[in-house]
Homo-oligomer: 207 residues x 2
């Protein structure tokens, strides 16, 4: 089992935290608003603790469950408190019309986080292709990308503890295309599927 810290107290923190507790993981919540962190910890139960905003997280895996524009600033604010941690970026940097990314360069929030992460920290992109509602009711595949094999193995083990299938798409530069898959997912919801109770995944075929 894994030891994780959720930075953020919103819907995705609650959805991932709920699965994490059910999977037997040790969970800590950190929020800029301590009262919201306390409230989420109580909702999650299972011995979930809270940490002080900006302090060294108790978890080995730190999930930045904040809106995309806040991810890089939050990692910068935490600074050396994240040394040695596996930082998991779950964000979707959609543009204003939800049909492209907010950055025009072929980068990703995860890659931008990696540029400023402290020594020994590793960054993994994961979970961004999954609508929160699906995490609450389905068993979607979880795509992930990263450059550090041990960090990726740690995140894969965590994903498996949630009862979900981890799917490694390659190095951290693939985070750009995972963010693009987030754009496709929104496109599917508005065009090809017509609702939000789905997720992109992989179907295997045999001869």
């Amino acid at each position: 089992m894994s030891s994780i810290t959720l930075i953020g107290t919103g819907n995705m923190a609650r959805a991932i935290g709920t699965l994490a507790v059910a999977g037997g993981n040790t969970v800590e919540v950190m929020g800029r608003d301590q009262s919201k962190a306390d409230a989420l910890a109580e909702v999650l139960g299972g011995g979930t603790t809270t940490g002080k905003w900006g302090a060294v997280p108790a978890g080995d895996i730190v999930i930045t469950a904040v809106l995309y524009a806040g991810v890089v600033p939050v990692v910068a604010e935490y600074g050396d408190a994240l040394a040695g941690k596996v930082i998991v970026d779950i964000s979707n940097p959609f543009n204003a019309t939800f049909d492209g990314l907010a950055h025009s360069e072929p980068t990703s929030i995860a890659q931008e986080v990696a540029k400023i992460a402290p020594a020994g920290a590793s960054v993994v992109k994961a979970f961004n292709t999954i609508f929160r509602s699906v995490l609450e009711q389905g068993r979607p595949d979880v795509f992930f990308a990263g450059d550090n094999p041990q960090a990726k193995a740690d995140v894969a083990a965590f994903i498996e503890s949630l009862g979900l299938r981890p799917l490694d798409v390659g190095g951290l530069k693939m985070a750009h295309w995972l963010e693009g898959a987030g754009v496709l997912t929104v496109g599917l919801a508005g065009n090809g599927i017509g609702h939000g109770n789905f997720a992109m995944g992989v179907s295997e075929f045999t001869d």
Copy 2:
């Protein structure tokens, strides 16, 4: 049923052509090498015809089944012969290391085709996320994107005739992210899946 023309005589032309004939569609093959077009038409059977390279295709739907670098030149070469046609770009413009796209701009082969397509032609991106081997043995989802609703409806009906599920991801600019999904698919084959007998698709969940 649909009337299609395959421009190209390679593996993808054979795979799509085989399914198209099985689905009761009218199929024409065009190849720069007429003998290869004749040979593929014979393999496909089912009344498959051949057309002269560069002539007006018999099919209403024209699938450019050539390597990505050839798609725009071929459409340019055909020119007005493609007026009024639905042009389906199935290409994957991978970079040399297969972990990104050959174009650094946020465009796609499909969008570049649209810029030079003749009057009344519509461009749809489809099939690019599917390995040829999977088309031959599985029933993968087929993502597609385009700007013209009628052209998209025509392509969706053709995809359904193949026994596959068409999934509309939105406008033609989404072709860029479909090409990115092609990159993810290669990444999955090399990392998270370990073989090529799979395809990205959609899983639906219910409460």
